[in-house]
Every structure is written in C-alpha cells, then in structure tokens.
C-alpha cells in the first residue's frame, strides 16, 4: 500500500519534551484535559463502565426468563430493564467506545498532533456522564423508568409514557449533542490535519470508516433529536405529531425513528469494519486485499443505509410496492457487505497467519457477523418477515451483528492497541481465555434465540409458554457466563495498565501504519512535527 518514513528527529524531540509537557498532576487533569489520548481514555473507560452496567441490567432480564412464570419482578420493571439495557448499550457503550478509539487512534494514524478541536473534544466527553446520570436516575425516581423499549414508539412514549420520559428525552438530547460534537471533531481532524503526503486514498481504513461514520452521525443524530423533540411537544405543548386524535399519525413516528435508526446501526458497525481491516492484515502479514474496493463498499453501505428504513415496518400496512422496494433495497446492502467479507478472507488467503487474541476476535467477528448478516437477509424477505416480526428471531439477529460485530470489534481493538497505549503486553493466556469463554457463551446465549423466534416466542415478554422453557434456560445460562467473562476482560486491562512485558514500538510483527512508528507507550504529545508520508 504505502510506506512511511519516520520523522526520527520529531520522535526524539517528543521524548525530550515529555517532561515539560506531560499531563497535569492530580485528578483535575481528567476534567480539564484537551489531550486526545486522555479524552480517548476517558471515553473508553466510560463506555466500559456503561457496558458492565447495561450488562448487569440484562442479567436481571435473563434471570427472570430462566424459567416460565413471573418470579423475580413485575412486568413493568422487566420492561424498564430491557429499555435501559438497549439505550445504554447503544448510546453509552458502543458509540462512546468507538469515539474513544477514534480519539486515541485517528491522530496517531494520520500523523496529527491532536484532534482539530480539543476544547470541543473535552466538552463532548464531559456531557456524557451527566446525560447517563439523568437517564439512570429514572430507575430511582418515583413512578416508572422509561419502559417503552429503546425504540420509544409513539404513543407508548407520548400518550402513555411515564413521567420519567422527560428525563429520557433530555438525556437523549445531551447524548445527541455529544455525538454530533464528537463527529464534527473527527471530520475536522481527518479533513484538515493529515500529515503531508497522506492523501485520502493512503489513509488507513479505520480512519476512512470513521470519516464515513462521522458523516452518518451528523446527518442522523439531528433526526433523533427532532423525534424526541416531537415527543416532548406532544407530551407537553399540545401538538399532535403522533396523536391520531389531533390529526397526527403514530406510524409516522416509526418512519422518522427508523430514518435515524437504520443509519444508526451502521454507525455501530462501520468503525468495527475499519478495525477488522487493520487487524486482519497485521496477523496475516499481508497488506489489505482490495483497499480501494473497501473504501467504496463502506461508502456504498453508508449511502444505502438511508434508503431502507421501512424494512423495520413491513407489518405496519405498507403498500405492496413499498414492501417490494424496501425488500430489494435491503438485499442490495448485502452486495457491498459481501465485498468486504470477501476482501477480509482474501487478505487471510495464503497469509502467514497467527492467532493472537486480537486476531481471534477478528476471525470470530468474520464468522459470526456473517451469521447475523444472513439472518438479516432472512428478515428482509417480506413474506417471511411477517412470521419473524417482533419475535426472538429479531433479537437473535441484531445481537449476532452487535455482539460479535460491534462489541468484538471494540475488544479486538483494545487488545490490538493496548500495548501501544500502556507500553505493556497483555497476558496472551488470559486474553485467549477471555476470548474463548466469550465466544462460546455468546453462541450459547443467542443461537437458541433463533429457534425461539421461529417457534413464535415474542420479544419483550417477562413470561412465556412452557414449550420455550428449555431454550430459554440455555440462553440464560450462556448470558450469565458471557456477563461474568467480561470481568476477566476488566481484570486483563487493569493488569496490563499496571505492568507486564515491555512492548516494542512496532508491537506486532506484521503491523504497519504511523501509530507503530512512535514509542510504546505513546508519549503524551506525538507528531508535533508532522511525519512525511510517501
């Protein structure tokens, strides 16, 4: 692809000045910091805490579903758990983790000294803890926390929403502002701060996928903000956007929500695609196969994502031509996605493969994300969707794309770049143990859900018919193991931060890219003199 000449003098200069320009002492450093590495760390820790919290919520759900009947909680509390699990996982775990990775890695990958708008960067992070404090506080206020599912369909959230819905709306507004500011920063950085010689088609794929993701974010997050604003107005200002009695239409809510929601699912997967495109070449000791087609495929997926929203709404009474259009448009997305999967496999083909933990996660991603993609294709078939709609088959589908897709992507990235961040190698034995436990537990949890859905078990129910008992027991067992195995991940990360085998600047034998030309751990300030890219 391309080769880099390290600006050796710049690196030495960095080392000399580290002392003078190191992080400020004390805890307030984290509050006032404008350093992209500090903010990246904050984002990653925040998302990890949210991941464990939202995971803990769903343990309650799986415990309730362990056997038929109501034993642990009343149905309304069950609904609050599923709602907050979804909201926190999407907006609190996956999205901030990707923004954290972007903060850490994009300046290092394009040879920039920092993000383009460092103060905005500080602000966009520090909004998040407040947004989630507001959202989570709804569990403790009088009455009910949001209980309408993460999709907050009207009129469940407008006419029938609990009082805490207003907290939820304000929290979503804050999260939206944070995401938009993060996206602005990433776009401004990539467009303006690339090292001399780094043309667009020389950028690492992770940077490309994030550039496209950031454009998706600034396009659809305002739509989400608009949707919650309309709900707020319907609730308090006498408007009837979604109230049929006043001339509105609740189905329109679903159109607006999914016009945001479908690009949103690509926001949660495109950066993972980028991570895979970094990791697979490294451990195959080859360059990425089909770099250009990767860029175009990612752009195509992003553009198509705006044209398929109503495939979430096949059973709302769309006209037949509408259903046909959305069915075929959805299937069309499988083409660029197929190009990407093909390229990853072609990268591994005849490569000198080794399977360190990041590569294990990457290969698992490849296999299981494809399973999730195929069940997505099944769902896109209109006549079949009438059977699958709102069953556990849908739950199985989106967990197969989100857990081995987004979450495994993030974990692979953490293992891959952790030595660069901390200067220490993580324990390969523990890493592999974490991987195998997660990968097996994940399949034990979600694979039976396909069967449950096909047999007709509906989503979002705290109780179910007796014939679903066995598969639910298996799924719950898997979920407990999966949840607990993430504590191993926490342990590994803390252990690596505190010490371990020294990492070289290259870290991996097959790695290439600017981030591997600086020492490990990465100095507080890097690329103060831009490197030259050939």
């Amino acid at each position: 692809m391309n080769s880099y000449t390290t600006a050796t003098h710049a690196t030495t200069a960095d080392a000399e000045h580290t002392h003078a320009h190191g992080p400020a002492p004390g805890l307030l450093r984290w509050v006032f910091t404008t350093n992209h590495k500090d903010i990246g760390t904050l984002y990653l820790w925040f998302s990890f805490i949210m991941f464990l919290f939202a995971g803990a919520l769903i343990m309650g759900v799986r415990a309730e579903l362990f056997k038929p009947g109501l034993q642990l909680m009343d149905p309304n509390f069950f609904n609050q758990l599923t709602t907050l699990h979804g909201l926190i996982m999407v907006f609190g775990a996956v999205m901030p983790a990707f923004v954290g990775l972007a903060n850490w890695m994009i300046p290092l990958m394009i040879g920039a000294p920092d993000m383009a708008l460092p103060r905005l960067n500080n602000w966009s992070f520090w909004i998040l803890p407040f947004a989630f404090a507001i959202l989570i506080s709804t569990l403790f206020v009088e009455g009910s926390a949001p209980n309408f599912g993460w999709t907050f369909y009207a009129p469940l959230s407008s006419t029938y929403g609990p009082k805490s819905t207003d907290f939820f709306i304000f929290a979503i507004h804050l999260m939206g502002i944070s995401s938009i500011m993060g996206a602005i920063n990433i776009i401004a950085t990539i467009l303006n701060l690339r090292a001399p010689g780094m043309t667009f088609m020389k950028m690492p794929i992770f940077v490309w996928t994030w550039l496209i993701t950031a454009f998706l974010l600034i396009t659809v997050m305002p739509v989400l903000a608009g949707a919650v604003t309309m709900i707020l107005m319907d609730r308090h200002f006498g408007t009837s956007f979604f109230n049929a009695g006043g001339g509105g239409d609740p189905v329109m809510f679903q159109h607006i929500f999914w016009f945001f929601g479908h690009p949103e699912v690509y926001i949660m997967i495109l950066p993972s695609f980028g991570i895979m495109s970094e990791i697979i070449p490294t451990f195959s000791r080859k360059h990425l196969f089909g770099y250009t087609s990767m860029v175009y495929a990612t752009s195509a997926i992003a553009l198509l994502s705006f044209t398929v929203w109503a495939h979430h709404m096949f059973t709302t009474g769309l006209p037949i031509w509408g259903e046909l259009y959305f069915m075929f448009a959805t299937m069309l997305i499988a083409v660029p996605t197929g190009v990407k999967v093909f390229n990853w496999i072609a990268t591994m083909f005849k490569g000198a493969l080794t399977f360190e933990t990041p590569m294990l996660f990457a290969v698992a991603f490849l296999i299981m994300f494809t399973i999730g993609g195929f069940s997505g294709l099944m769902l896109s078939i209109v006549p079949a969707d009438y059977q699958y709609q709102d069953t556990y088959f849908v739950v199985a589908h989106f967990h197969y794309v989100l857990v081995p897709g987004a979450i495994f992507g993030i974990m692979a990235a953490v293992y891959y770049w952790l030595p660069k961040w901390t200067g220490h190698m993580y324990s390969e034995t523990l890493g592999k143990f974490h991987f195998w436990l997660s990968a097996i537990a994940l399949n034990v949890t979600f694979f039976p859900m396909h069967f449950l859905g096909l047999a007709g078990m509906p989503r979002r129910v705290p109780d179910y018919a007796l014939q679903f008992a066995d598969f639910n027991r298996i799924a719950s067992t898997g979920a407990f193991v999966f949840g607990l195995s993430q504590l191993i991940f926490l342990y590994i990360v803390i252990k690596t931060i505190r010490g371990g085998e020294k990492a070289t600047s290259r870290v991996w034998e097959g790695s290439h890219g600017l981030e591997w030309t600086i020492p490990s751990p990465a100095p507080y300030h890097t690329f103060t003199t831009p490197p030259q890219v050939d």
């Binding site: 305002p222 739509v223 239409d249």
Partner: protein, 184 residues
C-alpha cells in the same frame, strides 16, 4: 484556521438542515399519504371541496361489501356502534348511515373520531359528504346521539376491492382545550 472554519460551518449547516428536515418530514409524509392513499388515511378536512354527482344507471353491476368497525381509545367510557355493521354498496350511489354514541361518564366529553380504511388503496376512492369525523364532538354527561355519515364509493374503485373496512377510532380530546371545538 480558515480551512477548519469552513469545514465547521459546512458541518453545522448540515446539522441544522437535518434537524429542520425532520420537521419538514411531517408535511412531506402527509402529502405522500394523500397522493398515494397509503396508510388508509382519509382526508377529513376537505368536506367543503367534495362534489357528488349521481352517475345514474351506470353502475357496472358491482356491489362492494363495506364493514363498519369501531374502536375506543384510552379506555374512553362511552357506547359507540354503527347503525349497520355491514352494508352492500353500489359504487356511485350515495349512502346514508349513522353511528350511535352515548356518554357513560358524568363529565362532558370532547371526542374526535379518526377514520381508517383497509385495504389502503381503497382510501382515496371513499368520499364523504357528511361525517361526524369532520369535527370534534361535544357530548354532555349521559347524552346519546345518532351521528350521520353520508358517503359514496367512486366508480374508479379498483376491481380487486370486493370488500373493505371503514374503521373509526374514538379519541378523547377533552384535555386538548387549545383548539376550538365544534359541536354543530
């Protein structure tokens, strides 16, 4: 800094534009539904514009089964039922039927009936001259009313529509005092 500022302004423009676009989706959606008849939505505001013309004997011998369905939203406490649950209707012929409503509460209710037609493609060929759904209705405590509905099915109704359902859902609009209510 000039280049960065330009990037920033472009991005802000997109963000504000998309926020505005979300609200623009509301009239776009309404217009789209009106043109396509999608969603079984019937325009309930154009009562003054519709003109009925008796087609005479030119009825092609068709007869369509129309089912009248009712729902009450928000657990509204009132009796609500159609005069006839099912009628055989010749396209082009004006039909008068009515709905019975009785307020079972001790409060004055302001209700709005919202029609929906299934299959959706039939929606734009069902025309109403007079409907209780054109306005909000004020019903005193214990009051019972027969509310008229005068409509016809256009002869352009697609051949495949042999049976259609006209459904009314009652919404309690008593809390919505802001807009004027019209009980006439």
């Amino acid at each position: 800094m000039g280049r960065e500022r330009r990037t920033l302004l472009t991005l802000l423009f997109i963000i504000i534009g998309m926020f505005g676009f979300t609200f623009a989706l509301v009239p776009i959606y309404d217009a789209f539904c009106k043109v396509t008849g999608l969603n079984g939505k019937v325009d309930i505001t154009n009562s003054g514009i519709v003109r009925y013309k008796d087609p005479g004997a030119d009825t092609k011998g068709r007869s369509i089964t129309v089912e009248f369905d009712v729902n009450r939203n928000q657990r509204l406490k009132c009796d609500f039922s159609p005069e006839h649950p099912v009628l055989q209707i010749t396209p082009g012929k004006l039909t008068l039927t009515s709905y019975y409503i009785k307020n079972l509460t001790d409060k004055t209710l302001i209700i709005q009936a919202i029609p929906s037609i299934s299959p959706g493609i039939a929606a734009k060929h069902l025309k109403k001259l007079e409907c209780f759904c054109f306005n909000r209705q004020t019903i005193k405590p214990g009051e019972a009313l027969n509310m008229p509905l005068r409509f016809w099915l256009e002869q352009e109704m697609p051949e495949e529509v042999k049976r259609l359902t006209l459904s009314y859902t009652l919404f309690d609009m008593t809390e919505f005092k802001k807009e004027k209510t019209d009980g006439t």
